[in-house]
């Protein structure tokens, strides 16, 4: 306990020195207020940056409930696919797949000093040479056939056609509602993939090397917007975690395994979309 008290005293005296140096006491009114506004502004900017830095893609679930009546009137839909972050492996707690945004946020919010000291300097280095980064690089060729807007868009469009999600549809190259309307689309379905790749299955422990267990994850935001009224008819964040687990070695050695699991994930999301917007018991049975 005396040791803890010493540490606490040391920390307190150190903090006092730091606060004295940056003039916090002056802001508190003990001394002159000359540098007060400047410090207040700095603290305000830092606080705002911290708050903004924390804004990331939200939790999963329905954001806007489907307007079923309006959706049932859609004859043709434009499908726009956007991949925010390509294939990545996230088996460790702190993963290389997330490094970019992490640094961006920390450097942006805390300034170069704290950001580079805490993350860029220490954790950043660990992440840079982490097994996740190596696995991502090694599996890139395997994921390439489905790791683009075009490939995902084509696969999804086929699935939407087969499952009769919409009577007709086409892949569009831009998220512009005006363009979608010009091409005769009643609505635009914006399919944003903000992350996909392999993750450690919940409840399992990370093992080094190819023995590590992995399963496919896909995080998307699906948004259906009317091209005539520009009203959002349905918006949902889908989180898909594959039910099948494989070792990392399997993903590396089995040709096409990543692609097959990704196609399965897209099919699942397509089925969920059908279930969300067609609430008739015989919908799937009635399809051609």
């Amino acid at each position: 306990m005396p040791f803890a008290a010493d540490i606490s005293r040391l920390r307190d005296s150190h903090m006092k020195k730091v606060f004295d140096a940056i003039g916090v006491m002056r802001v508190c009114g003990r001394q002159s207020m000359r540098s007060g506004p400047r410090i207040c502004a700095a603290v305000g900017v830092l606080g705002a940056a911290l708050l903004l830095g924390g804004c990331t893609p939200g939790s999963s679930g329905t954001r806007i409930e489907p307007k079923l009546e309006e959706i049932s009137r859609i004859q043709k839909v434009g499908l726009y696919v956007e991949v925010q972050r390509g294939f990545g492996v996230r088996l460790q707690y702190l993963s290389s797949a997330d490094r970019g945004s992490l640094e961006q946020m920390l450097v942006g919010s805390l300034g170069r000093f704290l950001g580079s000291f805490m993350y860029g300097g220490v954790l950043g280095l660990l992440v840079e040479y982490s097994p996740d980064r190596n696995a991502t690089v090694r599996l890139k060729p395997q994921s390439a056939p489905v790791d683009s807007e075009q490939a995902i868009g084509r696969a999804l469009l086929n699935m939407f056609r087969t499952a009769s999600v919409f009577p007709a549809g086409e892949l569009v190259q831009s998220g512009s509602l005006a363009l979608a309307r010009e091409r005769g689309n009643d609505a635009l379905l914006v399919f944003t993939i903000w992350r996909w790749g392999l993750r450690l299955p919940p409840g399992s422990k990370y093992e080094k090397g190819d023995k590590a267990l992995a399963q496919l994850e896909l995080n998307v935001q699906v948004k259906l917007v009317s091209s005539a009224t520009q009203k959002v008819l349905w918006k949902r964040n889908e989180s898909y975690v594959d039910s099948e687990c494989y070792s990392l070695g399997d993903f590396k050695s089995q040709e096409g395994l990543v692609v097959r699991r990704m196609e399965h994930a897209l099919q699942q999301v397509c089925d969920w979309t059908a279930n969300e917007i067609h609430r008739t018991p015989y919908h799937r049975e009635a399809m051609p």
Binding site: G54, P57, S95, L106
Partner: protein, 243 residues
């Protein structure tokens, strides 16, 4: 004198290192899991049916004692084992029953007879895990189950209707800098994901599970048949009585 100093320094360094280490894994954190039915009822457009509902625990034995791990925010090491106050099959049963009843269907309790159809839910996964994602802590709750109905034959007792998979992601701001500044370095390192966040994640996963369950075409089809059967039974009952 020198030896004494070395020993003192060793003890001090060891004590400091131990203070950084996470606590024992024998700690437990219990969650109160419940489900609030939707306002309109996800199955309310179907005719009312009378059915029996059973939830059976098919999870691996090692996943029945705890539903996940409460981790330290920065290191991701284990702080405590997460458990559910109410047994997990009961939580799932209550949630499904509440949504079915909100939609106007009647779920028979055991001893109240047999419904027009029986829905068996074999629960295979009910887990929560956390991971660092971007600059947040990403909590992931997953629930999986296979939904079956009795086939009525000896060689095939039940038919699989569909599988329900729900994954709910809940993001918690990590705020490393704020934690370090307000609490100091050691408490910041030792801080862990809160119970309320874990609870929110699993309740979200439960809500997603119920949603997926209710929107499955095969379930809706089974309910349509059950409603027809219920209608037939109720219209046949007066005739039976008059005989």
């Amino acid at each position: 004198m020198k030896l004494k100093r070395v020993i003192t320094e060793f003890v001090a360094v060891s004590a400091f290192s131990l203070s950084l280490c996470p606590g024992c894994a024998s700690k437990q954190v219990s969650l109160t899991l419940d489900y609030r039915p939707t306002k309109a009822g996800l199955l309310s457009e179907l005719n009312p049916a009378v059915l029996s509902l059973r939830v059976v625990d098919h999870r691996p034995l090692e996943e029945r004692n705890g539903i996940g791990i409460q981790r330290h925010v920065l290191s991701g090491t284990e702080h405590a084992v997460v458990t559910s106050r109410t047994p997990v099959p009961q939580v799932v049963y209550n949630a499904l029953k509440a949504e079915l009843e909100r939609s106007g269907h009647r779920v028979l309790e055991s001893g109240q007879g047999v419904g027009a159809t029986t829905i068996d839910v074999a629960l295979t996964q009910f887990l929560i895990d956390s991971k660092m994602a971007d600059a947040d802590i990403e909590l992931l709750g997953t629930i999986r189950a296979e939904v079956m109905t009795p086939a009525g034959t000896a060689d095939m007792p039940s038919i699989s209707l569909f599988t329900v998979e729900s994954a709910n992601v809940h993001r918690v701001r990590m705020n490393v800098a704020v934690r370090v500044l307000t609490r100091g370095l050691v408490p910041a390192i030792r801080s862990h994901v809160s119970r309320s966040d874990l609870q929110k994640t699993m309740n979200g996963a439960l809500a997603e599970f119920v949603r997926r369950f209710c929107l499955e075409p095969n379930l809706r089809q089974a309910l349509v048949r059950a409603a027809q059967e219920t209608g037939t039974r109720s219209s046949a009952s007066p005739a039976t009585k008059s005989q």
